[in-house]
Amino acid sequence: MTFRISSHGQQYPLRDWVHHFRPDMTNVKKILVPLKRVVDYNVRVRVKPDGSGVALDGVKMSINPFDEIALEEALRIKERGEAEEVIVVSIGGQESQQQLRSGLAMGADRAILVETTTDLEPLAIARTLRALVERENPELVMMGKQAIDDDNNQTGQMLAALWERPQVTFVSELTLNASVATAVREVDAGLEVIEIDLPAVITSDLRLNEPRYVKLPEIMKAKKKTLNVLPLAELGVDTTAQFDVVATEPPAKRPRGIMVDDVTELVQVLSNRELI
C-alpha cells in the first residue's frame, strides 16, 4: 500500500479550496503531528552486558509522551473548530503502526507511516518531515520537545530551520488567531511569551495539557481510519548517519548512603562533611 501524493496532496476537494480563500473560518487547515515509538515511560532501561546498546527485547513500547501531549493539543485545536484535519506520522518500522493506531484512536483523522528499518538521527528525521511538509502543506507541525529515549531535543528545531519557518519550543500554552500564534514557553528563567507567523513548528512541554484516555469504541473506529505506508526511499531525502555510537555503558553509580535516625544525627553528619 503505497501512498502517492498526486492523488492526495495536490488536489483538494472543492470545500477545502473554498476554505483556502476564507481563512477566517478556521485558523489552520492541517496539523501534522509526528509520533515517535519509544520505550514506555515506566520501563527502567538497562544496558546490555556486552555494551552493545540497551536491552529492548520484549519491553513495552508507547508513543513518546511529549508527542502524545502535542497530539492532544492538536486535537483540542480541531475540536475548537480552529483546524480541519490532524494527521499523525511516524518514521520507523511496521511496528510503529501500533503508535499510529493509538494516535488515530485518540482522534487523529489519518496516519502516515514512513517506513524504514534504519534508526535515523534527528537531522534525518527532520529532513524526512520536511519532505512530508512539502507534500501535505500543514500550517502547524506539532511534536514533543524531546523523545524520552535518546533525549536529543533537536528534531522540531531542525525541521523549522530546514523549512525556514518559526519554531516555538517547550510550549506550555498555545493560542491561535488567524495566521498568528501566541505561545508561552517554559524556559530556565520562567515563562517566555512569543508570537509567530504560521506556518510553524511547535514543540510541547509537559504542562501544555493532559492527554485524554482512549475508550474502546474509539479504538475500534481507529481501525477503519486511513493509514498510508510510504517507503522512506520514495521521499528521496539524505538520511546518512553522521555520528557513530561506539560504546554504551551504565552510568556511574553513587555509593549507597546511610539512614540517619533523627534530625540531630543528620545535622551531625552534615557538619562532619563541613556542608553546614
Binding site: D151, Q157, E186, A189, R207, M259, L266, V267, I276
Partner: protein
Amino acid sequence: MTRVLIVAEHNGVSMNPSTAKCVTCARSFNAEAVDIVVLADDGEQVANEAAKLAGVTTVIRLNHAANNSALAAVLAPQVAQLAADYTHIFGPSTTFGKDLMPRVAALLGVGQLSDVMEAENAFRFKRPIYAGNAIITVQTPENRILVATVRTASYTAAEPTGSAEIESRSVTADIPKHTRFVELRGDTGGARPDLQTATRVVSGGRAVGSKENFELIYELADTIGAGVGASRAAVDSGYVGNDLQVGQTGKIIAPELYIAVGISGAIQHLTGIKDAGTIVAINKDEEAPIFEIADFGLAADLFTAVPELVAALKN
C-alpha cells in the same frame, strides 16, 4: 587544528555561568582556539565579562537590534554566518542552547550532539540517553563541523582570570521577522541563589502538599543560603513555577549539597541531581527510591523534621 566557537548565553547585562562551563569543556580536549560570540543589541558588558574567562582566545561581538531577545530563528543564521572558521560550535544545554543549537546545525546541514558530559578527544564524546540510564560514547566526523550542546552540570566554570581580545563584526545574515518576543514572566526564585549555580539546593516534592506549605522549603533554604528546586509533581500541582523544576525535562544541577524534601525520587528527577556532591533525603516512606541514591536519608514526616532541622541549623 580544533577551533571552538561558543555561543554566549546572557540576559543583555550579564553572562549566564553556563557559558563559562562550555569553555571548560572546550579546553578539556585542548582546542587550539576557544572563541565566544556575544549576540546582543549592545553586547559590550557581556563581551567584557566573556573576555575575562581563562582560556578564551577571542570574543566576537555581533550587535543587532533584533538580538535584544534570544530568539533561535533570529540568532541561528548569525551563528551559522561564523561557522566557516571553526571545527566546533558549542552552546550550553540549557533552554537557550537546546532551542538554538539544533537550528544552527540544520542550517549548516550537519547533525547535533546533545548534552556532552565528557570529551575523550576533540571528536569523541560521552552523553547520557534514557534519562541518564545509559551513557553512550559517540565518534563524530572529523571532516565536518561539530555542533553540540554541553551538559553544564558536568563541568565547572572557567575562572575569570583571562584577558581575550574583543572584536566587533557586522551581521551579514538575513534576519527573519516571523518570530517576535512578547514578554518574559519572571523568576519565582526571588533573591535566592540561582538554582542552576547554587552550591546548596533544597527541593520540595508532592508531599509538601500545597503552595503555602512550600514556605517550609523556602525557610530551610534561606537558613542555609540555598537555592530552591522542586520535583515535577510539585510544579504540576502548582506549588511553584516551572523554572524550579529539577530533572530530565527541567534543570540538571550539581550543587555541593542537595536536600530533597518529600520527593519520592522518580528516575526522571534523579537524573537531574546525580552530579550533586552530597544528597540528603527526607521522606516519610522508607521505601522511597530517593533513598537509593541519597548519601544521608531520614525517614520522617517532613512537617516535623524540617522545622526541627531549621531550628537546629539556626542554633
